[in-house]
């Protein structure tokens, strides 16, 4: 091939000449290490990314660029390790502030991110190429018939294949599912002590409808889990995190979160629709997993997006005709971006995600204690997804009413015995409370091998038809 498709892809992602001089070789290395061929890169550039992402926006292209930089870094971890740099991993869902504080304290000598979600987002979201890793994990013992989490499969095989290095430590949070932290036990059991992990976990023991953050013993227990986990990580890595690092993390996260909330509001309100939910998931991903490069690249992307979206709204332009239905999602999938495209093809636009939205309670500054880990624990336990189903449904109702979509899609987490187990029932309950139709669509947020485009098309078409008919009747 005479073309340098690697360079073209990075240019498409708004890398400057200066960026290219620094990043291109490493990007080629990352592609090679991860098994991406020139053809794969060409497919991403010409087909997959333009077809599934709102790339008419420079902000979206920059957003992809920000995640490509993270992809480069995670693929470089074996090199970094050989150079003596420390490596810290984590898993979803976690309180990203703590990880950012660690990063700010440690500086460039430490690599820090959550490799499984990062690799899945990039490899599948932009190249449609996570299947080889998932297949490998299944061949090696995380068997397909049992419906295991694709992220855990990715973490397992990314390590066993040599794509990522063993960490100095991985801090595995297990406040939702059981499988995430147990995967680290699996990796260690099968590959050896080099895969060093620390867990923070708590049982789901609050009664239905009793908010977890109001149960003092529970908050104290989660605080102790966080304190123990965090202190152990600091001891292992010899990182000293000072109050100013927490402040830096908090200030930066809050600033970018505010901007992402602005974008979300615009996307929810705009008529005609201006952007799809997979982009909203991607720009909020810094809250889900820490970026090794920090937040500046994503912030630049979001700043650019805000200007572009305002202009679109001002001109009355959109990606669908005015009056098209908009749906919220339990979580709009970025790793499987074609769900959104398929809805668009059927005249429906996906928008915000219940999981990334917040409720009023989460903004409260009143806490049981002024101990920082107690505050973190209480804040953490205010999240609907962490709480029992009764409280989770309450927070879903608040979020749905705040955004007034024409419908809500649930069911992207069929592999998750916590997040996915109750969604059928939650869909019925939230629909009853809000009067907004909810649709349960059994599918997978990360992996489209079992739920192919052909298999999902009929379901998406029928949901879209119902939404358009309702919209027509309303009008």
């Amino acid at each position: 091939m005479n073309r340098d498709v690697y360079k073209e892809l990075l240019e498409f992602c708004e890398f400057t000449e200066e960026d290219l001089a620094k990043e291109l070789d490493n990007f080629k290395y990352a592609c090679n290490q991860s098994g991406l061929t020139e053809d794969d890169v060409l497919f991403a550039l010409n087909d997959w990314i333009p077809k599934n992402w709102n790339v008419q926006y420079k902000g979206v292209r920059k957003m992809i660029g920000a995640l490509m930089r993270e992809f480069i870094d995670v693929c470089m971890t074996p090199v970094l390790k050989s150079e003596g740099k420390k490596i810290i991993y984590g898993i979803l869902p976690a309180y990203s502030n703590l990880y950012y504080a660690l990063k700010y304290a440690a500086g460039p000598d430490v690599y820090l991110s959550f490799p499984d979600i990062l690799l899945t987002s990039v490899l599948n979201g932009y190249f449609h190429k996570s299947a080889p890793y998932l297949n490998q994990a299944e061949d090696d013992g995380i068997t397909p018939g049992c419906r295991h989490c694709p992220l855990n499969k990715m973490r397992f095989s990314a390590y066993t294949s040599g794509l990522i290095a063993a960490p100095d430590v991985i801090w595995s949070w297990g406040f939702n599912c059981d499988e995430g932290p147990k995967t680290d036990e699996l990796i260690q059991s099968l590959t050896g002590e080099e895969w060093n992990y620390v867990i923070s976990r708590a049982p789901h023991d609050s009664l239905y409808g009793v908010d977890d953050d109001t149960i003092v013993r529970r908050v104290e227990f989660v605080a102790e889990e966080l304190r123990t986990g965090f202190n152990t990580i600091c001891d292992i890595t010899d990182i000293k995190v000072l109050p100013e690092h927490f402040k830096e993390a908090s200030d930066n996260l809050n600033r970018l979160s505010f901007k992402v909330a602005q974008v979300t509001q615009m996307v929810c309100k705009a008529d005609p629709p201006i952007m799809t939910g997979n982009v909203l998931t991607s720009i909020a991903s810094f809250q889900l997993f820490p970026y090794n490069r920090g937040l500046s690249f994503m912030e630049d992307a979001v700043d650019t997006m805000i200007v572009e979206l305002r202009q679109m709204m001002k001109e009355g332009k959109g990606i669908l005709p005015k009056g098209s239905p908009k749906v919220g999602c339990f979580f709009a999938s970025a790793p499987v971006p074609w769900y959104d495209r398929m809805f668009l093809e059927n005249g429906v636009c996906t928008t915000y995600s219940l999981t990334t939205g917040i409720v009023k309670k989460q903004l409260s500054q009143e806490f049981i204690s002024d101990d920082p880990f107690m505050i973190m624990a209480e804040t953490w336990l205010r999240r609907g997804t962490i709480q029992n189903m009764g409280s989770d449904v309450e927070s879903m109702v608040e979020k749905v009413l705040a955004n007034s979509p024409d419908g809500v899609i649930m069911g992207f987490f069929d592999f998750d015995r916590w997040l996915g187990a109750h969604q059928k029932l939650a869909a019925k309950m939230v629909e009853e409370r809000t009067g907004i139709p909810h649709f349960y669509m059994e599918s997978d947020f990360y992996d489209d091998r079992d739920y192919s485009q052909e298999a999902m098309r009929t379901r998406i078409e029928s949901i879209s038809q119902v939404l358009k008919m309702r919209k027509d009747i309303e009008e």
Binding site: R147, D178, E179, E185, R417, A421
Partner: protein, 385 residues
């Protein structure tokens, strides 16, 4: 089946009628799940305990699928399914259901019961068992559970009575241990299908009576001839649970020429090898210590699998095991992951392993390939012997 075994079975099968009678007489009925809830406190409060661990039928796990994810394990789904089908005689008369909360399957199903307005109490069991504060959290949760039992029954729990019931539990354990020791014989007089049933019955029969019957059974069995073929492969049954009513798989193994001489199950079986140490002054902590710290960690605990494998190796030596059955509930993802480790580790020491996965579907169509697999495995183990 022996005469004593028949008597025990008769007593156990009368448990539901006993509960209905107790209810009519004004006593409270309290159900509980798992092995982390001390039934002795329920008895000491004057209430009737009943273990929820029924399974082995295909309809109950299916009937809740309109409400819940299909990838939950069938034992957890059965907990709600029998009730929804109207074939659970105890839940409708229960004054309280105490559910241990250590993993998501049971967690979400418990919520379904709460939505159905059943009276639920939860006992959180943290999985990081090697941390002191996790143990204290579990103990604190047990204390709250005792308060709830007192509230429901209107009776203050008396520690002296608790001790008496714990002593009786220890006697039941001792009886089961003695019978279990007979399984170490070259040709045991009792197989796993019966031994597991015996454990199940021990949850239903009044403990003093059960302890006495176990002694009688031991006397009957201790010099009885073996029930199995000479040189039958000796197997270990490992897994989450053999539910009450789910006896087909152990039976098929034993009818196909093997003997299951040892078990390592996390639920639905008495932890008969670990007495509650009552030498201290706090029976609640003694119970917690026994279940949480002293016995090998349950699968969901972390870390667990290496410790569990060491225990399996001990069982292999102690019971002269030729092969291992991993009995897995379908979609039980954490057990499935442990199986991967077990497969590697047993392979390293040359012990054959078979995974049998159940969805509680035992139709003729499902049984034929199952029996063939089991027979082939037994043949292979025999050859290896």
């Amino acid at each position: 089946m022996s005469k004593v075994m028949q008597e025990i079975e008769k007593l156990a099968l009368g448990r539901t009628a006993e509960l209905k009678k107790a209810k009519k007489e004004g006593r409270k009925v309290i159900q509980y799940t798992g092995s982390f809830i001390p039934e002795e406190y329920i008895r000491a409060a004057g209430a009737e305990p009943y273990l929820i661990c029924r399974g082995g039928e295909p309809e109950p796990p299916e009937v809740i699928l309109n409400d819940m994810l299909r990838f939950l394990n069938p034992l957890a789904r059965s907990m709600a399914g029998f009730y929804k089908l109207g074939t659970d005689p105890v839940t409708p008369i229960s004054d309280l259901i105490i559910a241990h909360q250590s993993e998501c399957h049971i967690g979400r199903i418990t919520e379904l019961l709460e939505i159905w307005k059943l009276p639920i109490a939860k006992v959180g069991v943290p999985v990081d068992w090697n941390r002191d504060f996790a143990f204290e959290y579990y103990v604190g949760n047990l204390k709250e559970m005792v308060e709830k039992i007192e509230e429901v029954t209107g009776n203050k729990v008396d520690d002296t009575k608790v001790r008496e019931y714990m002593e009786l539990s220890n006697q039941v354990f001792a009886g089961l241990r003695k019978i279990d020791s007979l399984r170490k014989k070259e040709n045991p007089p009792i197989g796993a299908a019966e031994f597991i049933k015996l454990n199940h019955y021990s949850y239903m029969v009044e403990p003093k009576m059960m302890a006495a019957k176990l002694d009688e059974l031991y006397e009957e069995l201790k010099d009885a001839p073996g029930k199995f073929d000479k040189d039958a492969p000796r197997l270990l049954l490992f897994g989450h649970a053999v539910a009450i009513g789910d006896y087909i798989v152990p039976r098929v193994f034993e009818e196909s020429g093997a003997i299951i001489v040892a078990d390592f199950l996390d639920e639905g079986i008495r932890p008969y090898k670990w007495d509650i140490d009552l030498s201290g002054d706090d029976p609640l902590r003694a119970f917690a210590k026994s279940r949480y710290l002293e016995k090998p960690p349950v699968n969901i605990f972390q870390p667990a699998w290496k410790t569990r494998f060491e225990y399996i190796k001990d069982l292999i030596k102690e019971y002269n095991i030729d092969g291992v059955i991993s009995y897995q509930l379908v979609f039980d993802e954490i057990y499935n992951m442990e199986y991967t480790c077990l497969s590697k580790w047993l392979g390293d020491i040359g012990v054959p392993l078979i995974k049998i996965e159940t969805s509680y579907e035992y139709t003729r169509e499902a049984m034929a390939p199952l029996v063939t697999r089991i027979e082939s495995f037994i043949d292979a183990v025999k050859e290896g012997k």
